[in-house]
């Protein structure tokens, strides 16, 4: 695989103000995303995992510039995304598309499938000439495994898996280079989930797409990803190849997360080590000092309370990968 960077996030920060009182004065900030950096290479899949509230969906929206950053830069193919305006920004939007989680609310129920998938052509008029749009939409439907003759149907006439295919067809319409998949299969039944995962993989190899695959299901992420980033409370705590993260995780949070995932094999019952974390994730409005995981970590020491651990290369037994733990040490948990 060519290691050409297509998208680079540098120290992305997003704070949401908490307002109160009659004057709606800002009394605090929810630190949804607090300094996240990574590179996405051409044609690869970067999985982003984490629990609810860790900022992974905020990250997805930031990569789409659906949110303006509090700080940080995003570079797409050498262009600074957040400083673009007007036509240049619209041009840029063709290259980064998104597939949403919920196929039930992300499609307009009053529009036909043809309107939904064809809508990008209304905005980006030069992509496909007007006369050829209907045919192009049918090609897209065929590509995602839907019957092209169903172009005049409405979303409610399709099942959840099929609606997700419609969302994918819409994402593909402008021939993007990067697709952000925000929990694309978590609303689907297992048998249908596999169909959609296979479709995403097929499309990737066909068009050389790069995916940022945001999900909470660690098994699905392992299946589809080349590299994986683990998030906790607005920060990236570990980032590495799929093999490094799953076989040699060095951050305690990653280890706990992986050990909690049930494996569909009863013969492993009681033989897998399970790290059960106490308590809940702290509030992002008032995150813990130092390492954000120190309140729940069994390794925590004074240093973890005072010093923020950087996401840097740390040894994992066989090599090294990025981990944000002062006491990073590989541990087999899967």
């Amino acid at each position: 695989m060519s290691r050409e960077v297509i998208l680079e996030a540098d120290n992305l920060v997003k704070y949401y103000p908490i307002r109160a009182g009659v004057l709606r004065r800002t009394i605090g900030q929810v630190k949804a995303l607090d300094g996240v950096s990574f590179k996405l290479y051409k044609g690869e899949t970067l999985g982003i995992v984490g629990e609810s509230g860790c900022g992974k969906s905020t990250l997805g929206r930031m990569l789409m510039r659906l949110e303006e950053p509090t700080a940080g830069t995003l570079t797409f193919d050498g262009v600074d995304v957040y400083t673009q305006k007007g036509a240049a920004m619209r041009r840029l939007r063709r290259d980064i598309q998104i597939v949403f989680q919920d196929p039930y609310t992300s499609l307009n129920p009053r529009k036909t499938v043809g309107d939904i998938v064809g809508e990008p052509f209304e905005i980006h008029r030069d992509v496909v000439p007007k006369g050829g749009r209907r045919r192009r939409v049918q090609e897209l439907l065929d590509l995602v495994g839907l019957n092209p003759e169903h172009i005049n149907r409405y979303p409610h006439q399709f099942s959840g898996g099929q609606r997700q295919r419609i969302g994918i067809a819409r994402g593909l319409a402008l021939n993007p280079k990067v697709i952000i998949c925000d929990e694309p299969v978590s609303a689907l039944d297992v048998s249908v989930q596999a169909q959609v995962v296979n479709l995403l993989e097929k499309l990737q190899s066909e068009f050389g797409l790069a995916y940022v695959f945001i999900a909470h299901d660690l098994s699905v992420v392992r299946h589809i990803s080349d590299r994986v980033g683990v998030m906790y409370l607005g920060t990236m705590v570990e980032l590495g190849d799929e093999e490094q993260i799953y076989s040699r995780p060095t951050h305690p949070y990653t280890q706990a997360l992986l050990s909690a995932v049930p494996v569909p094999d009863p013969t492993l019952r009681g033989r897998r080590e399970q790290i059960v974390l106490a308590g809940d994730v702290p509030s992002p409005a008032n995150p813990p000092s130092g390492c954000r995981f120190h309140t729940r970590c069994w390794k925590a020491q004074q240093k973890c309370v005072t010093d923020v651990p950087l996401l840097i290369n740390r040894p994992d037994g066989r090599g090294a990968h990025d981990s944000a733990c002062h006491f990073a040490e590989a541990r087999v948990v899967v």
Binding site: Q162, V190, H216, R222, L257, P262, V263
Partner: protein, 363 residues
């Protein structure tokens, strides 16, 4: 056990005694929903039983009838549109579907209780959680307010809610998802039921919280010898906790087996398909073998085997004749004409390629 002591003090020791440890028998249950669009056959002859201390998992995808089964057993089916049209649900030998509402109330709660998936919408938002837990004791045990509240605190401590004595007056929205699910569990076990039905208890929760909740359920079950019915779609959770599994498809049980047997060698093509279609945490796999097509519309369940339009082994017999739930081994049943072959690990002849089924376009 302190709660048993309390029961004796109050003279309300259960009058229900299981025969041979057999708590619950569901026999030929049928449920349909009568809607404006037509009649949806949600449950079509479901039978299973549950013993003391046993965990039975009911596994299925959305629309397979797993939650409706639980609602029918609990007697909380929305009616109309839902109607039980056949079958029996026996608790300790007595059919609860034929009971008077009054008698049934002596079972629902004290004997069989339920934990729901969505704790936020199952708890009343305008009452403190302690009050809601204490209501169980006031209603069923006739306790006064302060005793009931003391019991509620004790239960909240049992389900490991930190600072229970202070938080007993808090409202549901002041708790996190995992803590709310603990409160639901506290309410469900308040009256020391013999059967606990957990309907997707961890589906809305994060994986680390899921681990906490499943651990709690396991502990409580062991401590109280409860029979647990776990309704889920998650093959991983099932593998971790269940003793036996009933796999449901289109309102029927298609496979019923011991958990180890089922994972070692599924005896129904649907179960086999499910197991092959899930990505695994401990392996980096190739392409997932998905099941093509879609689950059937319950208003038009296909003739013959309901799985035949999606099955890779479907032959003429599958399209014409509905397979019974055949006995295929020790405590093991499968509703497939080729179950004998599958259970021995042999594959019946493929009648279509998997990729012919991909796409999942509803006809």
């Amino acid at each position: 056990m302190s709660s048993t002591l309390n029961n004796e003090v109050l003279g309300s020791t259960s009058s229900w005694q299981p025969h041979d440890g057999l708590l619950l028998e569901v026999d030929g249950l049928e449920v349909e929903f009568r809607t404006r669009e037509g009649v949806a056959k949600a449950i079509n002859g479901v039978s299973f039983d549950l013993r003391e201390g046993e965990t039975l998992a009911i596994l299925g995808e959305s629309g397979s009838g797993k939650s409706v089964t639980a609602q029918a057993v609990m007697g909380i089916l929305d009616s109309p549109p839902g109607f039980v049209t056949g079958g029996e649900v026996r608790y300790c030998g007595e059919d609860i579907l034929a009971m008077s509402d009054e008698r049934r109330r002596t079972i629902r709660g004290p004997e069989i209780s339920m934990v729901f998936q969505d704790a936020l919408s199952s708890l009343n938002p305008v009452f403190p959680v302690g009050w809601q837990i204490a209501e169980m004791f006031r209603q069923h045990r006739g306790m006064n307010k302060s005793n009931a509240l003391a019991e509620a605190v004790r239960l909240m401590e049992r389900v490991q809610i930190p600072g229970a004595a202070q938080r007993v007056k808090a409202y549901p929205h002041q708790f996190s998802g995992g803590m709310r699910q603990r409160i639901m569990i506290a309410m469900a076990i308040a009256l020391d039921p013999a059967v606990l039905i957990a309907d997707e208890p961890t589906t809305a929760l994060d994986v680390t919280v899921q681990a906490q909740i499943m651990q709690l359920l396991e502990e409580l079950q062991a401590e109280r010898r409860m029979g647990l019915i776990l309704i889920t779609h998650d093959l991983g959770v099932v593998a971790d906790v269940a003793d036996r599994i009933a796999v449901m498809y289109a309102g029927r049980i298609v496979e019923y087996a011991d958990v180890f047997d089922l994972y070692a060698q599924p005896a129904h093509p649907y179960t086999k398909g499910l197991l092959e279609s899930i990505p695994r945490l401990d392996r980096k796999g190739e392409t997932l073998a998905s099941i093509g097509g879609l689950p059937p519309n319950l208003m038009q369940i296909p003739p013959g085997c309901p799985f035949n339009p999606r099955c890779n082994y479907a032959q003429d017999i599958c399209r014409e004749q509905r397979p019974e739930l055949y006995e295929v081994g020790h405590h093991r049943r499968s509703a497939c004409h080729f179950a004998d072959q599958l259970v021995r690990g042999q594959e019946p002849p493929l009648t279509r390629r998997r990729d012919q089924l991909e796409g999942g376009v509803r006809p």
